[in-house]
Symmetry: C2
Subunit: 343 residues, 2 copies
């Protein structure tokens, strides 16, 4: 059974399509009797307005686009959940695309979303993204854009972030406070702003405590992404090169889990010989042994906040009163667990 | 800068909107010179066809809907990734909604997707879904529907599944082969078909090996969902009630991780005192200690297969030759790890 159209309702009642349409929208120039007839038949036939036609008229699609680096990822899937739960409340649907950390894909996906005339776009950048033309193209079309987590400071749009530098400072300070004397850092890939900020927070904490900053103790991600294997590889290398290191601040929990797995294989006691602090508070970190001290990063709330900001901007734009971009910083917290001493 | 319209191009060239539209579509009744002029200007102004208008004409939205019980979930996020990666290849966008295991939400979401005129729907049912009117409503609108993982056998649409009963039989047989004499089962919630089938596979394996089936050894989920806490609660109860149990087949890895965490607290040795087999092969199961023996359930491939089937049905429908529903069964594999003996 095909969906019922306005035309079919009109034919059945022997009136014009315009009258049917007006009746359904309660226009005053249609009689009460006609309205009642049309509405009853529309209900009986389970008529549903064609949303494309509605959109063509209102120029709204009631959909937004979301571009995210990776879906199979505890933090990002929490963000997605936060976004779609808020969007649903406002009757918005969310189209999700995964950039796979690739700048080229990200560019194509934004084009695709714009050609589908989404009402706004949410994005967390791919690690490889260093050029922002595709993002400025969104703003040039007067389309609201909100970035979250992995952002580009230079793009003039609203952003939802955490204070990565401050959180990394607190993480490193905790290692120092619990007695670590020589602290390494696994910093992940080179480009993304949050990698840079976490690294800066680590360095700042060392200097603030009168400790030496030794660039040889900073390990980049080999493969350019934060993976379990990355943690294993860097842990093995660190163990070989710097057996005097007694603490590591690691860019993300998944890498920390890989590092712990490697240290266990090597017979290194955690936290007795090496203390570890991760980042993000993946669920896994609370159930593996030892449980991991980490920074809680509010993924679900970040998703909610990003959608609410985008929605505000879409509404403001409709009223012709566009908003100034805002940067919203969410709170993080240090979660002390078994991978550090005195927790 | 607003997107450029056909009207603006027409005004700039002082020709009609119809001519512009025909020129862009290479209609034969427009001169070569006009076509060249229009195309050049369209390119200069970065004209993009309004996809709503295109859709209204072609009756295609090039979007599909996906309703999934939970996004922050290793198996389902792998499925999502498989779906959107295949969809993108065919130029389809995916709208994702989360039913949160609620039948009521699932019903509303399907209505919403239908009113947005998606070209087809993919769904994995909520645990609470026992009525299928909302699913049959999709088919009554001649809209392709493909179910995956958590399906309803009675709905006449294509399905992508694994053979849960067979996989559960193999999991239980592995416990028997490794020497377990009294095997319990944590079966999760009551309703979903995959819970039922995994339970049946467990029972069949016991009987096939001449072992007693004792319904008191089958533990339901307290809260109606497969959670970490569910595993802890059931493990504690089992330990109190049946200290002679030496093996458990557990419905899903997350619950198995909870059970292991509780047994470790109680000082029960795994696998020496109790062997455990999980289900799904969550990434976590390969990195916690002990690593968990489990059934590998191919989430990413399931997502790909479900989209490919839906796409075939959308194409067939366009040609007016609708396909017969198919049920595609994907292979699973037993992954032997540290939580069972002799692995």
């Amino acid at each position: 059974m095909k969906p019922v159209t306005l035309k079919e309702i009109a034919e059945k009642l022997n009136i014009s399509v315009t009258t049917v349409s007006k009746a359904l929208k309660d226009y005053p120039d249609v009689s009460k009797k006609t309205k009642a007839l049309v509405k009853e038949l529309a209900e009986t036939l389970n008529y549903k307005p064609n949303s494309f036609a509605v959109h063509l008229r209102t120029k709204e699609s009631k959909t937004i686009g979301l571009v995210i680096p990776e879906i199979v990822h505890h933090f990002f899937s929490s963000v997605i959940k936060g976004i779609i739960s808020e969007a649903e409340k406002e009757g918005y649907l969310v189209i999700i695309l995964q950039s796979n950390e690739s700048y080229e894909l990200e560019k194509k996906q934004i084009d695709l979303l714009l050609s589908h005339r989404v009402d706004g776009i949410l994005i967390s950048l791919a690690n490889g993204t260093a050029d922002f033309k595709h993002l400025n193209a969104i703003l040039e079309q007067d389309k609201p854009l909100v970035m979250f987590d992995k952002i580009a400071k230079l793009v003039k749009c609203s952003k939802v972030i955490i204070d990565d530098q401050k959180a990394a400072f607190i993480a490193t300070q905790h290692l120092i406070d619990s007695g670590c004397k020589r602290i390494a850092h696994f910093r992940g890939p080179l480009l993304p702003q949050n990698s840079i900020d976490r690294f800066l927070g680590y360095k700042k904490a060392l200097l603030a405590n009168g400790m030496e900053y030794d660039p040889r103790l900073v390990y980049l991600s080999d493969c350019g992404e934060n993976s379990f294997d990355d943690g294993k590889v860097n842990a093995a290398q660190l163990y070989k090169d710097h057996s005097d290191v007694d603490g590591i601040f690691i860019n993300t929990d998944l890498v920390a889990i890989g590092a712990i797995s490697e240290f266990q294989k090597l017979g290194v006691q955690i936290p007795e010989e090496i203390s570890i602090v991760g980042f993000s508070n993946w669920f896994m970190s609370s159930v593996i042994s030892p449980t991991i001290t980490t920074i809680d990063q509010p993924g679900y709330v970040m998703g909610q906040t990003a959608f609410i900001q985008l929605y505000k901007e879409i509404q403001a734009l409709k009223k012709g009163t566009p908003l100034q971009p805002e940067t919203i910083t969410l709170e993080t917290a240090l979660i002390k667990r078994e991978s550090t001493k005195g927790s």
